[in-house]
């Protein structure tokens, strides 16, 4: 490092503010570790495989963590980590989560591998919802309706799946997702209605319709609401790897499909004609339009594809997990997916990463309610999201949305 000859880069007021906030966040986490996590003596056992349990003495660990976070925070406030800020923040937050788990588990043990498996499982609808969001926003349409599309997909998946089997259910969910997105497309593209308002209308429409039908029809005809869900499929060889094998390769088809969806979306978005045109109409549709690209048609098509992906994500609830539909079963995952779009900077791989963070938050919250931590369960519901908020506030400083997102296209301008 030749720091001596580097001149300190000039920072704008906003950058300084953000750097300071990151510093204070780290100190805040350090204080929690020092005064809260170190309050429970005992060892925490993290079960990795049946034959091996990792043991962390929770009090010394919390103290060490507090010193580390405090030091990092002080360095950040004093001179900043510059381009390493996000890396430092990610590692610190990860360590903090481990500290939290060590505190909560102290004196007991829990199945860490199982929690990781749960993390991956629960990230599925968020990943697919986020891909639906990316497909829309990259072509200039803000998709607030992901929640409604997931919910509609879940309902259709349950009913069709009960009647004709799970694969038919998946197809039904996709059709429902496309139908709801067609509604968004017509209003946002054809009639140029404010996209956020249309999106919200679709969410309420979807919630109202599925709740009504589930009360009126499904309660009277429970035979329409029993799906045989997919069982985990262990990929030969890969699933034998310790820890990772269970977490990643012993999953339902949904996990594999969503990974494929991430790979395909990335490849198509950045390597093909379709992707180039899609990104162009999301950034500057007039540029594409004046070159003879049919902006309107491409936007329609992308919103439909997005609907299909979101519908598929909705099918996860009845066909990937519980085997039935309940009122508002998605409970806001569509909005979390929207956060994952932004957190992931409109990139499919970024969105997958974000979805895993949110999935981890859900999995931790579930585990904690089984452990005796003395924290009210309401707070447990919030805690993972609070941590996530801190991370998002730190990470998403400079992400840039597609410029034309939310703007109706008018060929004559």
């Amino acid at each position: 490092m030749n720091l001596a000859i580097e001149t300190a880069p000039l920072l704008s007021n906003e950058q300084r503010k953000r750097a300071r906030n990151v510093g204070f966040s780290l100190i805040f986490l350090a204080l929690i570790s020092a005064f809260f996590f170190s309050g429970r003596p005992g060892d925490a056992g993290f079960k990795l495989v049946d034959s091996f349990t990792l043991v962390l003495p929770s009090q010394p660990f919390a103290r060490a963590l507090a010193v580390l976070l405090g030091a990092l925070g002080a360095v950040q406030l004093y001179r900043g980590f510059g381009k390493w800020t996000n890396v430092v923040l990610a590692i610190s937050t990860g360590a903090f989560v481990v500290g939290f788990l060590a505190w909560a588990t102290s004196g007991g043990s829990f199945n860490l591998t199982g929690m990781l498996q749960d993390t991956v499982t629960r990230s599925v609808p968020i990943t697919l919802g986020a891909i639906a969001g990316i497909l829309c926003e990259r072509s200039g349409i803000i998709n607030i309706a992901i929640e409604g599309q997931l919910l509609g997909g879940a309902f259709a998946g349950a009913v069709v799946g009960s009647l004709y089997g799970p694969w038919a259910g998946v197809l039904g969910a996709i059709v429902m997702g496309v139908a709801l997105s067609a509604l968004l497309a017509v209003f946002a593209i054809r009639f140029r209605v404010d996209q956020v308002i249309v999106g919200f209308a679709i969410n309420f429409f979807s919630l109202g319709l599925t709740s009504f039908l589930s009360q009126r029809v499904l309660t009277e005809h429970p035979e329409y609401n029993i799906v045989k869900p997919f069982t985990p499929y262990a990929i030969p060889l890969l699933s034998d790897i310790p820890v990772i094998g269970v977490a990643l390769f012993t999953q339902t088809y949904f996990v594999y499909i969503s990974v494929i969806a991430v790979v395909l979306t990335t490849w198509f978005m950045y390597r093909t004609r379709w992707g180039l045109r899609t990104r162009a109409i999301g950034e500057y549709p007039q540029a594409a339009g004046t070159l003879g690209v049919d902006v309107i048609r491409l936007r329609y098509r992308n919103v439909w594809i997005a609907g299909a992906v979101a519908g598929l994500g909705g099918a996860w609830w009845p066909i990937g997990t519980v085997g039935r539909f309940d009122q508002n079963i998605t409970s806001g995952r569509g909005f979390i997916a929207l956060a994952a779009v932004i957190f992931g900077r409109w990139h499919p791989v970024g969105a997958l990463t974000a979805a895993l963070v949110f999935g981890l938050a859900e999995a931790i919250q579930l585990k904690m309610s089984n452990l005796d931590t003395g924290i009210p369960s309401e707070f447990l519901l919030m805690a993972p999201y609070i941590v996530t908020l801190i991370v998002v506030a730190g990470f998403v400083g400079r992400s840039r949305a597609p410029k034309a997102a939310g703007q109706a296209y008018d060929a004559s301008k």
Binding site: P9, L10, L11, S12, N13, E14, Q15, F268, R271, T272, R273, W274, G275, L276, R277, R279, A280, E283, Y284, Q286, A287, A288, G289, T290, L291, G292, V293, D294, R398, K403, A411, S412
Partner: protein
Amino acid sequence: MKLELRGITKRFPGVVANDNVNLSLNTGEVLSLIGENGAGKSTLMSVLYGMYKPDEGQIVIDGTELVFTSPADAIAAGIGMVHQHFMLVPVFTVAENVVLGVEPTGTLGKLNIDEARRMVREISDKYNLDLDPDAVIEDLPVGVQQRVEIVKVLLRDAKVVVFDEPTAVLTPSEIIEFFEIVKTLVSAGRGVVFITHKLKEALNIADRIAVLRRGKVVGEVDPKTATESHIAEMMVGRPVQLTVEKNSAEAGDVVLKVTDLTVLDADGRTHVEKVSFEVHAGEIVGIAGVQGNGQTELVEALTGLRKATSGVIALDGKDLTHSNPRERHQMGMAHIPEDRQRQGLVGGLSVAENLVLTRYHDDQFSHGVIVEWDAADAMAETLIGEYDIRTPNKETGVGTLSGGNQQKVIVARELSRDLRLTIAAQPTRGVDVGSIEYIHSRIVKERDAGTAVLIVSTELEEVMALSDRLLVMYRGKVVAELDPKKVTPMEVGLYMAGSRPDSAVTA
């Protein structure tokens, strides 16, 4: 190829943008289409490019009538257009922008980006355009961006290339390069339509000049015989004064003192870097520079619309670096902003409401929380008369007025009080020749009354004509202080492009 527009009429609610327009163009010649803003030049070209459907008239190519329903049809017919606002995706590379719409692809629509690069290089070499296919558009200077637009058009093998106000964003030396490119295009057998409102340039490059006024072609002139004042009269419909009349300045005390001003944006990019200068009472200081070299941010920092990252701004010796816009306003600072629709006016409000926007809280116009509309209306009536604002009445929505009259509303509001400092950014952008004349005379009058005046304009001729002292900004820095009477536009242009001519006369 021969392109003809026959009897084109295009109506919008309330206006006839093009009224029975007839034009023709052969390949191998340059036709200049000249007219004021709002004369219908851009509408006509949008019709030609398939973006508007004409209400009457035909587009005829080599004797065949063609109907364009989209730009794709126009491109197929051999028409290419370089728009005034470049149609380039800022985050894409040169190659990606050029091939958009005609991408070379393999299986599953996989982009063949190597082929795209090769195509860009081939055309770039053939026409000597010197483009890097992998450069990202937003990192490129506008002159280079324009060449990317030209490559786009050439790749689609356009026989007729339309340039809409192509020189508005270029430095004098870039304009010369641009004219060279136009000549190459013409000698390669292509036709060029050159839309402009700059008389000199039309006279310089065109084979024929067609003058448009209020949607009609009012005449065609031969650049070999026509004079500037003759064409200007055809554009406006009456004789106009093309030069600014002013006496020499009598500079007084320092009014504005800027010391080491630095402005960064939210992303940490430097827009203004350690800029220092003074403006004295009774003088006009001009800031020249190519658009995007920090002038916008400098003005925003001076007027309080943007925070200064470091440095000091003082008015009459008082530090107002951290004052808000209203405080600065009350200290006698007037601001004519560069973007009148976004920063100067509230389009949905009436002329009277806009005129009182900066003063509704004064005792004269308010009584506690109640606005005294009678007083405001009376003032509006006076100002409309005094500043010659052409509006049906004071209740008319300001957004419905012409650009020149909107600008006069701002000038009236800002200059009609006791001032210490007037900051005018692009004061005549998109304003008709008649109003330009008027606004310039108002600014000079303000100077003669002892106000310090700072003019920022990308129109080099305008700043040189108005200023008593001239500063040149390049990449956020003031790179030269010149006496506008002693330098040529060419020399100033070199400073604007970042080079330092050693023989230049400095003030």
